[in-house]
């Protein structure tokens, strides 16, 4: 149910609505993951890079190696905790970078329309015709794997998500009375776009960003798994899963736990995204 007040005020960021249990679980999961990754250097039982050939391929055992060790005797729990920083960092920075590009282009295309809009929309179509992994393979084949290339590939392939949503919202907002009013009192286009329209589309941007961060985590992990992401030795979650590939018959824990970390985190982010989407979009409830 939407009250008339809420309707008149447009989409408030957090409308007075009870939080659903899914959203709470999501916030709890993501809160824990962020906290653990920040505390990683202090709570890790071992050095994540420390190799100990005597301790290799140990199954999970309390308290020495709660999640076991990998083929080089490195502690899996410590590697997961440290990997969280890199995996979250990459996903977050890629989501922000592609957001800056996608949102600005969407604002301009939606507001000015015309040739600019036509060109950008076709560009978005072309971009979407090349599946993410396919483009990533092409780019890494030439540019080589690396942290910066990874963030760039992720951003280049995902700006369209923001662009489409923002453009559609701006197209609708352009005809709203508050925009006409702003124009009538002589506001410049830039001022109308950034001071009047942008605040009204922030809600949608946050929803897109949240769901995209979740996708980014899977993308990053997939690329690192294929050896197209971070350089070898960097403990991102995708790398950790791929470390266990050759031990699939003997040591299940090497791949299992990092994968669980990805799965739980992505699910947490998705839960928050769904909750945000539901509470920001009255139609979906």
């Amino acid at each position: 149910m939407i009250t008339s007040q809420e309707r008149a005020g447009g989409k408030a960021l957090f409308p007075g609505r009870a939080m659903n249990p899914g959203g709470m679980i999501g916030l709890f999961i993501v809160g824990c993951v962020v906290l653990l990754s920040l505390l990683a250097p202090w709570i890790s039982p071992h050095d994540p890079g420390l190799q100990d050939i005597n301790q290799r391929l140990r199954p999970p055992a309390w308290p020495d190696h709660p999640l076991g060790t990998d083929g080089l005797g490195r502690d899996i729990l410590s590697r997961i905790l440290h990997g969280a920083r890199i995996s979250l960092g990459i996903s977050l920075s890629a989501a922000v970078l592609s957001g800056v590009v996608g949102v600005s282009l969407g604002l301009f295309a939606g507001y000015f329309g015309g040739i600019l809009d036509g060109l950008l929309s076709r560009l978005a179509d072309i971009q979407q015709a090349v599946p993410f992994l396919v483009l990533a393979i092409g780019v890494t084949a030439v540019a080589g794997p690396g942290l910066l290339n990874l963030v760039l590939v992720l951003s280049v392939t995902t700006w369209v998500n923001y662009f489409r949503v923002v453009r559609a919202e701006v197209l609708a907002a352009r005809e709203e009375q508050y925009v006409w009013a702003a124009r009538a009192v002589g506001c410049s286009s830039a001022r109308i776009i950034f001071r009047h329209i942008l605040p009204n589309v922030v809600a949608s941007i946050i929803v897109v960003a949240t769901l995209l961060i979740a996708n980014m985590m899977i993308f990053e992990a997939s690329l690192s798994f294929l050896g197209l992401g971070v350089p070898p030795g960097t403990p991102t979650w995708g790398r950790l899963v791929s470390d266990g590939r050759e031990y699939v018959t003997s040591a299940w824990w090497i791949s299992f736990f990092p994968g669980m970390a990805i799965f739980i985190t992505v699910m947490g982010i998705n839960l928050i995204g769904d909750w945000l989407r539901e509470s920001l979009d009255p139609r979906s409830s």
């Binding site: 076709r122 179509d125 072309i126 393979i137 092409g138 997939s222 899963v241 699939v248 299940w252």
Partner: protein
């Protein structure tokens, strides 16, 4: 309708042109393609000769024209690794990937269609809650990890299915489940919410009031309308399915396009990779075109009112 078909065709061609630019620029991404194509210890004069021979010393637009004129004749150049025509190698692997993508799509549809429909009809029932939880899991599980876990369970422990390679339809099962799980979750979710929205509409109430049976209401009135977002989703999923099939192919050593492409990165086999990107994108364009046409058939409003752009 013919106008609409023509307009979608033009759009498809435009997108293909854009893809050709991307594929062309791939080669120039590293700055100088000669450094990518030649061994590291090539003497400078040989590099120069190579650049001249390949036309790399000409302006980019001219190089692009040469590139396109070759590509439209199906000439992507010779593979450095396999020493034969790049397109030939890629097309050789294409049927295997199409088979995998078809299997993955069938897997996701067979599970997603009944799950989405029943969940919507029996809203908030135990089944509905179960479907929603499965959707949540399906959208969060990383494909490559799922693949490893399935392999561990069904191939290594239980020995029911082959570990890798292609030895008949049984080799398709695990890769298809891997590549299709995300799509299954997305389609089920969209079908459920689409159907819930449609079921609340006035015309459904009218149909019920006229005395139609629940089955008739569902099949004749509700499903066709609820299918529209789901069909769009299937179009979007093509990219995901093809991407997911790359992962599945690599893990299960399935002899398709994705496996070829990832191996080609190791060989820096640029013609094969360019051809791979072009063929994958062309498939997405064709599927999107088909979906646009199905879409128009499902919903007359689209072909009648959306001709303006």
């Amino acid at each position: 309708m013919p106008g609409y078909v023509f307009q979608r065709l033009c759009h498809g061609l435009l997108v293909l042109w854009g893809v050709s630019v991307i594929v062309f620029l791939l080669m120039h991404l590293s700055g100088d393609p000669a450094t990518v194509l030649l061994p590291l210890d090539t003497p400078p004069e040989e590099v120069e000769a190579f650049r001249h021979k390949m036309g790399l010393d000409r302006p980019l637009p001219i190089q692009y024209l040469f590139f396109v004129s070759r590509v439209v004749r199906g000439d992507f150049g010779y593979s450095y690794h396999y020493r034969t025509d790049a397109l030939e190698i890629v097309l050789q692997r294409l049927p295997a990937t199409l088979r995998l993508a078809a299997a993955a799509l069938s897997f996701s549809l067979i599970l997603a269609l009944p799950a989405g429909v029943i969940a919507a009809l029996k809203r908030d029932s135990f089944f509905d809650v179960a479907v929603r939880v499965l959707v949540l899991i399906g959208q969060a599980v990383p494909g490559f990890w799922l693949a490893l876990m399935l392999m561990m369970l069904f191939s290594v422990r239980l020995r029911w299915l082959p570990v890798s390679g292609y030895t008949g339809w049984r080799s398709l099962i695990l890769p298809a489940v891997t590549a299709g799980s995300f799509s299954m979750a997305s389609i089920a979710r969209l079908l459920r919410s689409g159907l819930l929205e449609v079921l609340g509409k006035d015309y459904i109430l009218t149909a019920r009031a006229k005395g139609l049976s629940s089955t008739q209401v569902l099949t004749r009135h509700a499903l066709k309308n609820a299918a529209i977002p789901a069909v769009t989703m299937i179009a979007i999923q093509t990219g995901w399915l093809l991407g997911g099939s790359v992962i599945a192919e690599v893990i299960f050593a399935y002899p398709g396009l994705g496996y070829l492409a990832v191996n080609s990165i190791g060989y820096r086999d640029l013609p094969v990779i360019q051809c791979f990107v072009a063929v994958m994108a062309a498939m997405v364009v064709v599927v999107n075109l088909a979906v646009d046409l199905i879409y128009a058939w499902l919903d007359p409003r689209i072909r009648l009112y959306r001709n303006d752009h």
